[in-house]
């Protein structure tokens, strides 16, 4: 651990401010709490919101896992993990089961999470209403008055254009029967994992200066129509490495002749499944 930094980089006053925002977010599930986002030694788009949340909840005894698109070894995940090793000296792991805090971009781990774990999401755009209503004053009012009709306008457009709800990522959901929120750009495959999850889920948007949360065992309902119910992605074939038929698969192009295979995007889960089978 490098000296000269405060533990986990942020000073204590900033952490207290962020923790207050987090407490408020937990108290009002799905509500976007503004916070004074700080400059971090990494560019926006690299998960500065998630990093600030993780920095504020991290303790020396924690074990941290960082994933990007389900993998621990991508540049973004590696650099965030290194950052916390350097500034907080915490233990890290690639195993979901061994982590107490998991910071993620674009995926929810396949293994079901426990009460003693916290999942921290990196969020680029927290406001689900923005695509049809760019005015911030108006979207706040819409949330306050539960005016969520335009979320269905978006789904209507999907069906009119594609014959089905084509939104596959950042699929909007309602938290605890009240606030509509953007679960960050995870595939809609992961939306059901947010529902009634045992772990605390925290969402940080750095550039947009917003924090929101889904407390443990909270209802998260993906929006849909009665005659076009919510459904998740399915694959024709199992994972080429572990044989799983229940996980989210990435397509990998093997050569320039169009040869390809499908493998689990959650690399830790896939490796475990392969070890078990061996």
């Amino acid at each position: 651990m490098t000296t000269g930094y405060n533990f986990a980089y942020l000073n204590e006053q900033t952490k207290r401010m962020i923790r207050r925002a987090l407490l408020k977010a937990v108290a009002i599930p799905g509500y976007q709490v503004p916070f004074a986002s700080r400059e971090m030694p990494m560019p926006y788009g690299w998960g500065t919101g998630g990093v600030q949340v993780t920095a504020s909840i991290l303790t020396p005894g924690d074990t941290l896992k960082v994933i990007d698109q389900g993998a621990d070894d991508t540049t973004n995940a590696v650099s965030i993990r290194k950052f916390f090793v350097r500034t907080a000296g915490v233990a890290t792991t690639e195993e979901t089961e061994k982590a107490s805090i998991i910071q993620t971009r674009h995926r929810v781990p396949e293994a079901s999470l426990r009460e003693d774990q916290i999942l921290v999401y990196q969020v680029p755009i927290p406001e689900p209403l923005r695509f049809l209503e760019p005015r911030e004053t108006e979207t706040r009012k819409m949330h306050a008055l539960e005016e969520y009709g335009i979320m269905h306008v978006k789904l209507y457009e999907d069906i009119a254009r594609h014959g089905h709800i084509a939104t596959a990522y950042a699929y909007p959901a309602k938290v605890n029967g009240r606030y509509v929120f953007d679960p960050s750009p995870i595939p809609k495959f992961d939306n059901p994992k947010l529902d009634d999850c045992a772990a605390l889920q925290l969402f940080g948007a750095g550039r947009e200066k917003r924090i929101y949360a889904v407390p443990p065992y909270t209802k998260v309902t993906s929006l849909d129509f009665e005659d076009h119910p919510f459904s998740v992605q399915k694959w024709e074939e199992p994972c080429a490495l572990c044989g799983s038929t229940t996980t989210y698969l990435d397509e990998i192009i093997l050569d320039d002749k169009g040869k390809r295979m499908f493998v689990c995007s959650d690399t830790d889960h896939c490796r475990k499944a392969q070890e078990k089978a061996a």
Binding site: L132, K141, L145, I150, V153, A160, E226
Partner: protein, 257 residues
């Protein structure tokens, strides 16, 4: 027992101390079409915006008879109640349809939005209602998935009307709904509006500087000059036998054309 749908009491609005409209009083009865006429700058739009709560008047109040039978001053309603009223019981047809439409989504979504806003969650029903309404405003059903950007000015205006009427509002505010259109398109739109108003029994407050529009659509007329109502009465009577010198001038200038 019937009572007025809307009552304007002493509505006044000033901008920097200058009168935009002053001490306007009238009653609008169910099924009635009231035309507000007057020259440019006479305060027509300002009055309409005060009535429909888009701006707050400096003095006076607007009483409205809600669907549940209560009569309330609009300023006493909570913001949630007011916004709910606006997208269910009221319609607002803007002169520029781009202000009243969502140009980024399809015609079908434009018509369906209010249904979804009041909780309709069945795609098939939303779509068939939208088709029905496109038909009623004479837009071909096979253009339902197109953006209103592809539509002509007249089609956009008809789409805006369908979007407003889909929740069966009782009161529709219109500000120069035929203003930007050329004459033949105007005539067709006026015919359509007249038919809808009759079959649906709508109450309407329509702003126009065109006396021909007022004659065709309205039952009563309110003539404004420099922010004040200078004459009011049954449209036919006022246009046949105008009392105020300014109204006489308006009427005779139209007849000369």
């Amino acid at each position: 027992m019937t009572k007025p749908l809307l009552v304007a009491e002493n509505i006044s609005k000033y901008y920097d101390g200058r009168v935009a409209c002053e001490k306007v009083n009238f009653e609008l009865w169910p099924g009635e079409v009231l035309a507000i006429v007057g020259e440019s700058g006479s305060g027509k739009t300002t009055l309409l915006k005060c009535l429909s709560m888009q701006i707050a008047p400096n003095a006076g109040r607007v009483l409205y008879s809600l669907r549940d039978g209560r009569t309330e001053s609009l300023s006493d309603l909570s913001e949630a109640e007011r916004r709910f009223l606006m997208r269910t019981d009221w319609g607002f047809v803007h002169q520029d349809p781009r202000e009243g439409l969502r140009m980024g989504v399809s015609a079908g979504a434009n018509v369906g939005e209010r249904l979804m806003a009041v909780g309709e969650r069945h795609y098939g029903r939303i779509r068939s209602t939208a088709l029905d309404w496109l038909n009623r405003v004479e837009i071909a059903g096979d253009r339902i998935d197109e953006s209103p950007r592809n539509y002509s000015g007249g089609m956009r205006q008809r789409l805006q009307i369908a979007r407003n009427l889909v929740t069966a509002p009782r009161l529709v505010f219109m500000d120069e709904p035929t203003g930007g259109l050329d004459v033949s398109v105007q005539a067709r739109l006026l015919d359509l509006l007249r038919g809808l108003v009759r079959t649906l029994g709508l109450s309407v407050v329509i702003v126009t500087h065109d006396l021909a529009v007022a004659r065709l659509l309205s039952t009563r007329i309110l003539v404004m000059q420099q922010g004040k109502v200078i004459e009011t009465g049954l449209t036919d009577q006022v246009l046949e036998d105008p009392q105020a010198p300014y109204t006489q001038l308006l009427v005779s200038s139209v007849l000369q054309v």
